[in-house]
Subunit: 191 residues, 2 copies
DNA sequence: ACCTGAACACCGTTCAAGT
DNA sequence: ACCTGAACACCGTTCAAGT
């Protein structure tokens, strides 16, 4: 639960401000998406705008800090699915988990896509890890013959991101239907 | 080619400004997406910001004016496809046409989605028309038995919008693959 | 009838000055 | 070591004043 970075003992007020900023950012991002006003977040947290930038050099850092715990959960899910006996169920489970993960904040999918390409992004490491898990699950699916042979990791990633975007834009039920149909399109030809 | 609205004879300078604003907006939207700075557009067109607002009350109106000609082409395509002998090819053709249509400006898909729900939007009419064509083509596809029976118009719309979004975010080739796979997911179970 | 640009209210981001 | 808030450079949008 201690989210403080390298320096040893943060001052009590610094820690409190950090915590408050995270809480306000979370609620602002949930309400208005990842483009929510940072000035507003600082104001609601009761600190000056400079304090926000002191703790988080940019918007990505703030989002990254908020995603920490959720990332841990996601990667545990990934490990569990990699050991799952059914490669098909594992892949489906992963896609659902990632879509759910990205659905917290409107606009997050776009940030994650950028984060994968930009190695200077605070989100880069987790994006790469997500990508790696996906690749392995797809390899397993191919080995088990439960996915059409011409589908690549990039194809599944595109599907996943698209589904997350649909989830941001439309009612959850519609997003579920989209995901189900799209996944059917990945099944082997004879399936 | 005359794009002037109800008032009879626009002043020569007004017409020229209108034309210049459209041209600059088009290039700005192509470069930076539909969120491109309006002040920049006015500046590059050589007019004051107030002149831009005089011609276009908001960003949607500007986008709508730019889409006029492209809409005509799209709807002609729609009419032609509605008369196409193969319901399957017609639907596929329509989805491709809409994705291509929305791909001009990054961010346009999101505006079109909003435009369908918001009847105060300058884009609303064309969105409704697009939607109606889609519905008819899907009805035809169902009648011909070339689409899975549980797929609705909303499902196809979601797929189309998602494909357009993928086209905005990733290389065109990736978007094509996504679209092909996703469309396969709409084929009848036994297909 | 149309154009101008100042005015207002908002941003993100930086940084000298404080404690 | 951390916080503050003014400062700068940018927005979208409106509207009184011009021609």
């Amino acid at each position: 639960m201690n989210t403080t970075r390298p320096g040893r003992r943060p001052r009590a007020d610094a820690r409190r401000n950090y915590e408050r900023l995270l809480a306000e950012a979370d609620s602002a991002f949930r309400e208005n998406g990842t483009e929510a006003s940072l000035e507003n977040i600082a104001r609601r947290a009761g600190v000056a705008i400079g304090t926000l930038y002191g703790h988080f050099p940019n918007r990505r850092a703030l989002v990254g800090a908020l995603l920490q715990d959720r990332n841990d959960v996601l990667f545990e899910t990934g490990d569990r699915l990699l050991a799952h006996p059914s490669a098909a169920e594992a892949l489906t489970g992963w896609v659902h988990a990632v879509v759910e993960h990205a659905a917290v904040y409107r606009g997050l999918v776009a940030m994650l896509i950028d984060g994968l390409d930009d190695d200077a992004s605070e989100l880069h490491e987790s994006c790469v890890r997500m990508s790696a898990i996906g690749e392995r699950l797809i390899a397993n699916a191919h080995a088990a013959g439960v996915i059409r042979h011409d589908a690549t990791g990039a194809d599944v990633a595109a599907l996943m991101n698209a589904a997350a975007w649909v989830r941001e834009q439309m009612p959850e039920e519609q997003a579920d239907r989209f995901l189900r149909f799209a996944m059917d399109g990945l099944r082997p030809a004879g399936g």
